[in-house]
Structures are given as C-alpha cells and as structure tokens.
Symmetry: C2
Subunit: 114 residues, 2 copies
C-alpha cells in the first residue's frame, strides 16, 4: 500500500468503512475476523488492533450488540448485530454521505448549470 493510501486511510477512509460495518451488521451478524478480510477485499488495510477495539466501542455506544458462545472458548467468534440505536446512526450517516456526494460533485440538476 502506497503512502497516499495510508494517509488517506487514517484521515478519511476510516470513517467511511465504519459506515460499511454498521451497514453489514444491519444485514446479518458480522464477525470481526470476517470483517477484517471483507475490508481487505475492498482495498482497505485494517489491523486487528484497530478493528476489534472499534467493534467494542460501537457496542459500548449502543450501536451494536454482540453474542458469543463462551462454551466454545474465550476466543470463539463474537457475532455483532445492529441495534435500533445503530440503525438510526446508520441512517444519519448515510444521509450525510449522500449530502457529501451531492455537494462535492457537480450535479446536472443544480442551478448555475447550463
């Protein structure tokens, strides 16, 4: 991964894939390790030291809930799901994302056009 990508990652993209995470958690249970790979597929390079604390924080914030089968050991997969609060946060975030797109890319339906 090049330098620009790395700087962007921390400064900007980080916030983007947090939204991705919420979105995924809204469609079904997500597991940290799986998310790690999913993000890599999308070109993000995330370290466990970033993702796992993030997941915990989102749970603490009330955006996600988790369940883990502790009978299968302390390192058994933890499944995260979007809560109602998380759903609202996601909705707001998506709205802001759309606004960001709208404002930063010239639209054909805006005035001042032609």
């Amino acid at each position: 991964m090049n330098d620009r990508q790395k700087l962007m990652q921390r400064e900007i993209l980080l916030g983007f894939w947090k939204v991705h995470i919420l979105h995924h958690a809204g469609e079904g249970p997500v597991v940290g390790h799986w998310m790690l790979q999913e993000l890599r597929h999308h070109g993000y390079d995330v370290s466990p030291g970033t993702l796992y604390p993030l997941l915990k924080r989102m749970e603490k914030n009330g955006w996600l809930s988790s369940e883990q089968d502790l009978k299968k050991g302390p390192k058994s997969p933890k499944r995260y799901l979007l809560t109602n609060e998380g759903r609202q946060v996601l909705a707001l975030a998506k709205q802001q994302a759309r606004e960001l797109c709208r404002e930063t890319t010239p639209s054909d339906t805006e005035d001042g056009e032609q």
Copy 2:
C-alpha cells in the same frame, strides 16, 4: 448537541467533513476561522483545537498549501489551497464516498432487483 450526534461526530462525521474541507480548498482559498463557521452552519460542532491541527496536518501531508501575510502579524489569516496531490486525494475520497452510498442504499439498477 445531543449524545448521539457527539459520538457520530468523532467516529464517523469527522472523516466526512475533511472531504468537505478539501473540496472547499479546491474552489478557492479557505481560512480556518471561516471554515469553523461554515462547518457549524452545516450542523457540525468543531473546536479550533481540532480544526487547526488538522489543517496543518493536511499541509504536512502535501494536500494543502498555505500563505499568510506575516506583515499583518502572527495571527493574520492563513489561506489554504488544494495542491495537485490534494486534488488526487479528493478525487479518490469522492470516489469512495460514492461507492459507500452505492453499497449502502439499495439501487434501482442493481441486479437482484424487482
């Protein structure tokens, strides 16, 4: 500002308005103090302690360049402009933002539709 908004701000929205800043800097010189108000108008509550270091960091990253008329004192307005590197970063960020929107909102033109 309520609790949810505050958490979202740091976790997610922060990254969004960094893109806004780059965008603005691409359209003309931006000044920290002005940006601070601009962001407030858009409902973001940003403190100087966040914004000014950010601007400096973006300059250090090569995304922005700044000019200041020091004859008018050390606290005279600093005008930031988007660099070429910044332009590329902005382009990538916009692309990712669009992808975020595309993936998180069901599109009418995707397969699996209807």
